[in-house]
């Protein structure tokens, strides 16, 4: 991992190998991770976002897996809450197209150059992004223990 350029650091408190990359370098790192034969992360297992509301930023995580080597890696990136725009990795891992749509739908992450950025689960005219911590829905009954 250290071979990659600066700005990439270890993401602590993840129960598997994890690195954090700056959002703007995401695409470059992702391409390298897939194409480097020693890494060969050919499967994007999962991708979603975490709303760190208190820190006013989102954290995107990408769980990668290499079917060739059997190793796994978690890639994370922070984006600011008020401009949550990241490049899409759907050209590197096609499955990301839908995982990113889910993240857009529920968390409001905007993916630049995404081929088909639409609401996935909710209706097209739905207002707001429900998985955000500050989302309030008048129809939602809340109770907290």
């Amino acid at each position: 991992m250290t071979a990659l350029a600066s700005g990439i650091e270890r993401r602590e408190k993840v129960n598997r190998p994890a690195v954090r990359v700056p959002a703007e370098r995401l695409l470059e790192v992702a391409a390298r991770l897939r194409d480097d034969p020693a890494l060969a992360f050919d499967m994007l297992v999962d991708h979603a976002a975490i709303d760190w509301h208190a820190e006013n930023r989102f954290e995107l995580f990408y769980h990668l897996f290499s079917t060739a080597h059997g190793h796994a890696l978690t890639l994370t990136a922070f984006v600011p809450r008020d401009a949550p725009v990241v490049p899409t990795v759907s050209r590197i891992w096609p499955v990301a197209e839908w995982q990113e749509r889910e993240a857009y739908d529920l968390m409001g992450i905007l993916y630049d150059e995404h081929p088909d950025l639409r609401r996935l689960f909710l209706e097209d005219d739905w207002q707001g992004f429900p998985l955000r911590k500050d989302y309030r829905d008048p129809d939602m009954l809340e109770f907290q223990k």
């Binding site: 129960n15 499967m43 950025l117 689960f121 809340e142």
Partner: protein, 387 residues
């Protein structure tokens, strides 16, 4: 920098498209959200040219209940019951995935008895799920009788679950640090009886459906998913294995007591509907094999290592755990905030979610009827996609 956000209407009825009815050869039909093809409620917008499929646009979300949001309000123990209701056909495996992730994160230990029972019930459920899938595939392809035979076998396995777990579908049985109940005294005996009953039934499936020339022609060479493409699309489980990749978490990173059980991973050679069919049928045989090895050697011990009321402390951080369910890899990402007895964020990587999108690629160029074969062999459970 501008990010374009689209709506479904932009695709189905883009502005400026010819409104003339006579000018178009292609047309859209809606399969679902309530359509027999949509197991559960999935909407497939299909662009057709005559009977030929030009494009399939899946529109999920008709059972999106916001489970991930709900989990943020529930304690570690309580959120297990939500996993019953995602992929309800492998509820026990879902329970296990979350329980195991929590156990790993919180450092809870289990004992051999717990792990063995978990493995057995998970394999029984895999059997049950595949039997149901087989029946539903038969029904989808127009043969109603296999549907009832498949369900007959499911019911027999359900009886084991009813005795031990007390539920037929939504189990909530595997909990962090243990099991809800110890197994029923008759468990081993009954399971053996059921296995003895099931083995000839699987051969019967071969006579009734697998060997049938109509079924073979409906499945052979339809919807070929090459291995590289399957990996790129994030397909897992039998779908990926049918493409020839022996990726089975039970072998790759064994959990439970799978390491001590002897079994083979069924793989296909081409990745068409037929391979997906055969892989599942073979998986049923392998599941029987696993359970047969374990059922006589359930170690003694308590059924849980954590008292029910005890508070589970999950350290801060991102915890990812995964399990091979009947449909593929279920990954659970738990983001713990540290203090609260609830996840800060929970995300499921559901196998069906990724498998679903293979439909868009596989169905293109085939007939309407082939969508059904393709979707049926992908074995989708929609609430798992929608969560």
């Amino acid at each position: 920098m501008t990010v374009n956000v689209k709506t479904l209407n932009d695709i189905i009825a883009p502005p400026g498209a010819a409104a003339s009815a006579l000018a178009t050869e292609e047309y859209f039909v809606n399969m679902g959200p309530q359509h027999p093809i949509a197991h559960g409620s999935l909407r497939l917008v299909v662009r057709l040219d005559g009977e030929t499929v030009r494009e399939v646009i899946p529109v999920p979300g008709f059972v999106h209940r916001g489970i991930e949001k709900m989990a943020e309000h529930l304690s570690w123990r309580q959120l297990i019951h939500l996993t019953d209701r995602t992929d309800y056909l492998s509820a026990l495996m879902n329970n296990w995935a979350v329980a195991r992730t929590i156990e790993q994160a919180a450092g809870l230990a289990t004992n051999d008895r717990i792990e063995t029972v978990r493995t057995i019930v998970a394999e029984l459920q895999r059997l049950q799920s595949h039997a149901l899938w087989w029946g539903v595939l038969g029904m989808d392809l127009g043969a109603f009788t296999p549907f009832l035979y498949g369900f007959r076998e499911r019911e027999v396995i359900s009886e084991i679950f009813e005795d031990t777990i007390g539920a037929r579908l939504t189990m909530n049985y595997i909990q962090p640090g243990g099991l809800m109940y110890d197994i029923h005294p008759d468990f081993a005996q009954k399971t053996k009886r059921v296995l003895a009953y099931l083995k000839p039934k699987i051969d019967e499936y071969g006579t009734l459906l697998s060997g049938n020339v109509i079924l073979q022609e409906r499945l052979r060479n339809i919807g070929v998913l090459p291995a590289a493409r399957a990996i790129a699309l994030g397909c897992t489980g039998p779908v990926l294995r049918a493409s020839g990749v022996p990726c089975d978490l039970r072998k790759v990173e064994p959990y439970g007591v799978y390491a001590s059980a002897e079994f083979d991973v069924p793989v296909g050679s081409k990745g068409d509907c037929w391979d997906r069919y055969c892989v599942r049928i073979e998986e049923m045989r392998q599941s029987i094999r696993i359970v047969e090895q374990l059922i006589d050697h359930i170690p003694e011990g308590p059924h849980t290592t954590v008292k029910f009321g005890a508070r589970i402390k999950v350290p801060e951080g991102i915890h990812y755990g995964q399990i091979e369910t009947a449909r593929g890899i279920l990954g659970v990402t738990i983001v713990a905030g540290g203090k609260a007895d609830a996840p800060y964020r929970l995300h499921f990587r559901s196998p069906n979610f990724n498998n679903l999108w293979a439909v868009t690629e596989l169905a293109r160029g085939w007939r309407i009827a082939d969508i059904i074969a393709i979707q049926s062999t992908l074995d989708l459970v929609v609430p798992d996609i929608d969560r």
